[in-house]
């Protein structure tokens, strides 16, 4: 069975849609891909032998991620990988963030879900560009899919790219997308022990947003215990409590965001080759000719 060389999806299963071209298929879009086929070389040797491989299981994904990261850095773009369990309120938080962030930082969004383009449509309703990736049976985004989505999105220089991952606290932890950092969203309607149950994700995140904090008076959720648990897996994890509903904590989150975006801009100005400047700079790895 032909498989996409990075994500392992069956041909045609991953869909990337930007709202203009309806459900165009990654694999039908003429993008050259490396595809693996099960039949190995035809000639038999008859004797088993040992073959050293010594390759990281995620080496291919990491190479795509490095390419995404470099291209984003050259454009001075802050890219965040938003991860959470399903229903933690990532999209609601994103919509609120976009509405309040203002004009200073052009923002665009990559949405990852197994099915539907509902989330991308919610984002587009705010007026910003969003590309939806449907992973089909896949439970996470990978750097290869994100590279293709970036080609569609062509994110503006010095802006912010939000990548909303598939709701899942397990697999998305392992797949680097080329982001500056991961932001893990944990809603107070979940358990305080989630950071201990899914420590790898919390270990790899830079910021934990505790969402839906307007509901705290109605819940038994022990905020201090949750933060302690998170710090057991990652002593450096920053924590901000937020409510997309009441707006509580959003100003602090926007400050965090603006500081990081400033840093990405400054770094982009320092490192970008002259050709990567300008709205249609060729810095992104994302042109089709280079997507193989």
């Amino acid at each position: 069975m032909p498989m996409c060389s990075t994500c392992g999806c069956e041909t045609g299963e991953v869909l990337i849609a930007d709202g203009n071209r309806e459900h165009a298929q990654l694999h039908a879009s003429g993008v050259p891909h490396g595809h693996d086929h099960d039949a190995a070389g035809a000639h038999a040797h008859g004797h088993a032998r040992m073959l050293r491989i010594e390759q990281d299981i995620l080496a291919k994904n990491d190479a795509y991620a490095a390419r995404n990261r470099k291209a984003l850095a050259e454009r001075g773009i802050l890219a965040l990988n938003l991860v959470s369990a399903p229903g933690a309120g990532k999209t609601a938080l994103l919509v609120k963030t976009i509405r309040l962030l203002g004009e200073g930082y052009p923002i665009c969004v990559i949405e990852g879900d197994q099915q539907t383009s509902n989330d991308a449509e919610r984002i587009r309703a705010t007026g910003v560009a969003a590309v939806q990736i449907n992973t089909g049976k896949g439970c996470h985004l990978d750097a290869h899919m994100v590279g293709h989505a970036l080609a569609r999105l062509d994110p503006p220089q010095h802006g912010i790219l939000m990548i909303e991952n598939v709701g899942n606290l397990v697999c998305p932890a392992a797949f680097d997308l080329g982001e500056a950092c991961k932001v893990v969203v944990l809603s107070v309607t979940e358990g305080e022990d989630k950071p201990l149950k899914y420590p790898d994700m919390f270990r790899r995140a830079s910021l934990m947003l505790l969402s839906k904090i307007d509901l705290l008076p109605h819940l038994d959720f022990d905020l201090g215990c949750c933060v302690d648990n998170a710090h057991r897996t990652n002593p450096d994890l920053a924590v901000i409590g937020v409510s997309a509903h009441t707006g509580e904590g959003i100003a602090e989150w926007l400050d965090w965001l603006a500081q990081r975006a400033q840093r990405a801009r400054a770094a982009g100005c320092d490192t970008a080759p002259a050709s990567a400047h300008g709205a249609a700079g060729p810095g992104l790895p994302l042109e089709r000719s280079r997507s193989a």
Binding site: D38, E54, D56, I57
Partner: protein, 110 residues
């Protein structure tokens, strides 16, 4: 499942490159802190490798020990699982330094 698919692709590539038609055994190095259950990896690999060059291949999983730097003790300590305390001081100012690797080491094939 996703990781098992990555493993299979590495194996298929190597098999194609070397002109091998059947993989008998495969050695994976999985760190103790890599958040990968060896049994889950076995189960998933068996499923994804069905009908491939690695169908029925034996999976040998080599576990490497978890290590962390304890800021309080200022020394390197053993860490059996993420979220556990420093075995010396009982604190959690720990930075993981080893045992997160996931590698395909070698395979036996013909």
């Amino acid at each position: 499942m996703a990781l098992a698919e990555e493993v299979l692709q590495i194996v298929q590539q190597a098999a194609r490159r070397e002109g091998l038609r059947r993989v008998h055994a495969l050695w994976l190095e999985i760190g103790q802190l890599a958040s990968v259950e060896p049994e889950a990896m076995r189960f998933c690999f068996e499923a994804v490798a069905r009908d491939s060059v690695a169908a029925g291949a034996r999976l040998e999983i080599v576990a490497t020990a978890g290590r962390a730097w304890c800021e309080t003790c200022a020394e390197s300590v053993a860490l059996a699982a993420l979220g556990e305390a420093c075995p010396h001081c009982g604190g959690y100012r720990l930075r993981v330094t080893g045992g997160t690797q996931m590698r395909v080491q070698q395979m036996e094939a013909e």
